[in-house]
């Protein structure tokens, strides 16, 4: 399943980095980070939503908010989200509200898609977990 996530471009190499960080000390590191990410990013998305409705539009602020979201996304390897963030920022730079709104819709979609997929992924992991551990210790 993970492979499909990567193949479809939802995740990138950074995610591998996260997995490498997982160890005995923090066995659920990746899941923790991802959970943290979605917690924060949901909040950020809401903020941007609200900001987008303001008139007149403050593109600098929008850009700053999006930057934050982008950094978060890239740090967990959420590739598609990151790309949408980049395009959103571009629209901000061009001060195209419509472009921003469109991009943002896509972003939100990616965001929730990723969340669902990762939730499934972790659930799978948990099911498979004990088996994996056994295998690993056997090595």
């Amino acid at each position: 399943m993970k492979k499909s996530l990567f193949d479809q471009g939802y995740l990138d190499e950074q995610f591998y980095q996260l997995e490498e960080l997982q160890d005995e000390v923090s066995p659920n590191f990746v899941e923790e980070v991802v959970t943290l990410f979605f917690r924060d990013s949901t909040r950020l998305v809401t903020n941007i939503d609200q900001a987008l409705e303001k008139r007149p539009q403050d593109f600098r602020k929008l850009d700053a908010c999006m930057h934050q979201l982008k950094v978060s996304a890239s740090s967990i390897g959420a590739a598609k989200m990151k790309n949408e963030c980049t395009s959103f920022k571009e629209f901000c730079g061009k001060e195209s509200l419509e472009g921003c709104i469109r991009s943002f819709q896509k972003l939100k979609k990616e965001h929730s898609t990723l969340r669902t997929k990762l939730e499934n992924y972790f659930q799978l992991l948990r099911q498979v977990g004990p088996v994996e551990k056994a295998v690993r210790s056997g090595k």
Binding site: Q17, L21, E32, D40, V71, I76
Partner: protein
């Protein structure tokens, strides 16, 4: 030297600090102490984990202000700082500058923004390196190199400099040529530290030399006791007639040289002179506001400075002082702020004109650059003595800040120079108080003192009152003795003098040695200078208020109670003695004073500090109140002094079991009274934040 010590001596670390390959685990750079600053929780978690995987010792925080305070509290503990660029509470570059100036730690910036100009900005602001997010483990594995490099550079510099100036230039040149970002960053940051203090090279040199004994003989720390002796000798001889040789003989201190005494005496005299000439204040004020901008800018993000601990309030226009009183500052800065103020005051009074701001900034820089040391304040004071040169002045200022800054962000906000107004009685007083306190504290115990100060020092955010500041600075001049000397000035002591006196007394029995006449001197002058432009409008009300708040906050101790307790205990005895010495006579305001005292007591009690410590705070508060009262414009200075004295006395007698609320109420009363008198201080300012 330097931070590698912990790597070297820590048995868990390898012996070599230069990236050894030794076979003993854990080897350097394991255990490298990294401070990680990032507002994004996800990034923070990931990075922290990565760093720990590299076997580094990681401390995380999500706010730049918090990071600064941590760095200040644990000066010398961290090896490296890793900071995000875009943060909501403070620009990463600003933080970078602060760190470079204050702690001189290698800083690595991080951001997903990889635009060349942003990266360039990081380097020019002194970053050792710039890492693009998302960060990979590999990028973090090698960050220790920056620590090593920096240390080596510092070492080299120390060894090379007969004149720091030269080495600075040399180094800057060397570093500047270096293409690598790391070394450029290093050099630049070092250069910046020095460069910014270039004006005060003298200070730098002196400071550096003083810090590193291998280049100079150790400087004398004018502890409270020492200063007390000095004052005793001076008073016996008569200030005008006191000569260093005789003073030295009378002091009978082993190891003290005539030169030490001479320079100290010079400073003292300058202080006295400054204290007794109100016109200086206005002078300074004007100068300050005009020139500080330039000077401070050189220091780099002055605002940042002031806000975050440089506490050079003089730098900020009154309005800006308010932010200084922000929570963060209060929490973190204490004594330093006051000291800085004092120093500035000192400086101001001396320089009176142009040099002031320069001095201050230089001193600030000085301070920032130097690691904290109690002596620093002392040595700086000596510099002050040689005022006349902005550089020098600045240095002491800086030094003082450094000294007191340990563990406490620089609160020092110089009072504005409105001679007659004290927008913030509390602030003013606190500055003084804190100064004296810190001075005393420092003398007695470095850490404790600082913490003590921190607690009790008010963030003296007097808006640009050059004069008061000078005075404050003077006092703060990290020398208890200096303060004492100031106090013993036969010229009419300003409130500040009194305040300081009170403080000094507590700490080092200085009061006892103060001649009565000192107290008698009208202290209107001082308070005026001290108080931030209440009347003249120079000082912001808010600034004053905030000063007060900070003061109160400080008094209330944000967490430094234990320190205060320690300090107080040793001091309380002194206090009692000294208080009595204050030649305050009961005036009409006695009643008020009394209440003030109660308030103080309550404040003390509230803090939960020991009685002694409470007493200290109370005293400060009293002093403040006294000052405030003085500022009221009463012509009877003596009355005021009396009041102060009374209040002080009462203070002592009062145990610290009075409720905090009382104190607050009292203070509010004072403020109210002040307001009525036209000071227009914001009552709200008195909100004590415990």
């Amino acid at each position: 030297m330097l931070e590698f010590a912990h790597l070297k001596t820590d048995p868990s670390r390898a012996a070599s600090t230069l990236g050894n390959s030794g076979g003993q685990p854990p080897e350097f750079p394991a255990g490298l102490r990294v401070l990680l600053v990032d507002d994004d929780a996800t990034c923070l978690k990931i990075l922290a984990k990565m760093l720990r995987k590299c076997l580094y010792d990681v401390t995380t925080c999500s706010q730049a202000a918090v990071a600064l305070s941590i760095l200040r509290q644990k000066k010398g503990w961290f090896d490296l700082v890793l900071s995000d660029v875009y943060m909501p509470d403070m620009d990463g570059f600003k933080l970078l500058e602060h760190i470079g100036l204050e702690m001189d730690l290698p800083v690595i910036m991080m951001s997903s923004d990889d635009h060349k100009d942003v990266v360039m900005k990081g380097i020019t602001h002194g970053a050792c390196d710039y890492i693009i997010k998302p960060v990979r483990m590999e990028s973090l594995r090698n960050i220790w190199q920056h620590v090593v490099r920096k240390k080596r550079n510092e070492l080299k510099e120390l060894e090379n400099s007969g004149s720091l100036e030269e080495s600075d230039r040399r180094k800057a040149a060397d570093e500047g040529d270096n293409a690598s970002s790391a070394s450029v960053g290093n050099g630049k940051s070092e250069k910046r530290q020095r460069g910014e203090g270039k004006d005060e090279d003298e200070e730098d040199v002196l400071d550096e030399h003083e810090d590193h004994s291998h280049t100079k003989k150790p400087r004398v720390v004018w502890s409270a006791d020492l200063h007390q002796k000095f004052l005793t000798a001076v008073n016996q001889l008569g200030v005008d007639k006191a000569v260093p040789k005789k003073i030295l003989e009378m002091m009978n201190v082993h190891g003290l040289t005539r030169e030490n005494v001479a320079s100290h005496l010079q400073k003292y005299r300058l202080y006295l002179r400054r204290v007794s000439t109100p016109q200086n204040q206005g002078f300074f004020d004007a100068h300050y506001t005009s020139s500080h901008e330039a000077t401070y800018n050189s220091v780099g993000s002055n605002d940042g400075f002031n806000l975050h601990g440089l506490s050079v309030s003089s730098q900020h226009p009154p309005q800006s002082l308010a932010p200084i009183h922000s929570e963060q500052r209060i929490a973190t800065s204490t004594g330093m702020g006051i000291l800085a103020v004092d120093q500035l005051g000192f400086i101001n009074s001396r320089i009176q004109v142009t040099g002031a701001s320069n001095i201050i900034s230089s001193s600030l820089q000085q301070m920032n650059n130097k690691p904290m040391s109690n002596l620093r304040g002392c040595s700086k004071n000596i510099e002050l003595g040689q005022l006349g040169q902005s550089h020098q002045v600045a240095q002491p200022y800086g030094g003082i800040n450094l000294q007191f800054g340990e563990g406490t962000s620089n609160f020092l906000t110089l009072p504005s120079s409105a001679p007659t107004s004290f927008s913030l009685p509390g602030g003013t007083i606190s500055g003084q108080l804190s100064k004296s306190l810190s001075m005393h504290m420092t003398e007695h115990s470095h850490e404790e003192q600082f913490s003590m100060f921190q607690q009790s020092t008010l963030d003296i955010t007097l808006p640009g009152q050059p004069q008061p500041r000078g005075q404050l600075l003077d006092e703060v001049a990290s020398h208890n003795s200096r303060l004492a000397s100031t106090l013993t000035e036969p010229a009419p002591p300003d409130d500040i003098a009194n305040c300081i006196w009170g403080r000094l007394g507590t700490d080092a029995n200085m009061l006892t040695s103060l001649p009565a006449k000192y107290m008698d001197a009208p202290y209107n002058r001082f308070p005026r200078s001290l108080y931030v432009g209440g009347q003249d409008g120079v000082v912001n009300r808010s600034a004053g208020g905030s000063c007060f708040d900070s003061f109160i906050s400080t008094c209330n101790l944000k967490g430094t109670n234990n320190h205060v307790s320690d300090e107080h205990q040793s001091r309380s005895r002194n206090w009692k003695l000294q208080k009595v010495n204050l030649p305050y006579q009961s005036g009409q305001e006695v009643g008020l004073e009394q209440s003030t005292i109660d308030g103080h007591s309550s404040l003390m009690g509230h803090q939960g500090a020991t009685n002694i410590s409470a007493g200290t705070v109370t005293e400060e508060i009293l002093l403040m109140k006294n000052k405030i009262d003085n500022e009221r414009g009463s012509s009877s200075q003596h009355q005021r002094t009396n009041l102060v004295e009374n209040s002080i006395r009462v203070n002592y007698e009062v145990s610290s079991d009075i409720s905090y609320q009382n104190l607050h109420d009292e203070l509010m009363k004072v403020v109210q009274g002040q307001k009525q008198d036209g000071f227009g201080r914001a009552d709200a300012d008195f909100n004590i934040q415990v």
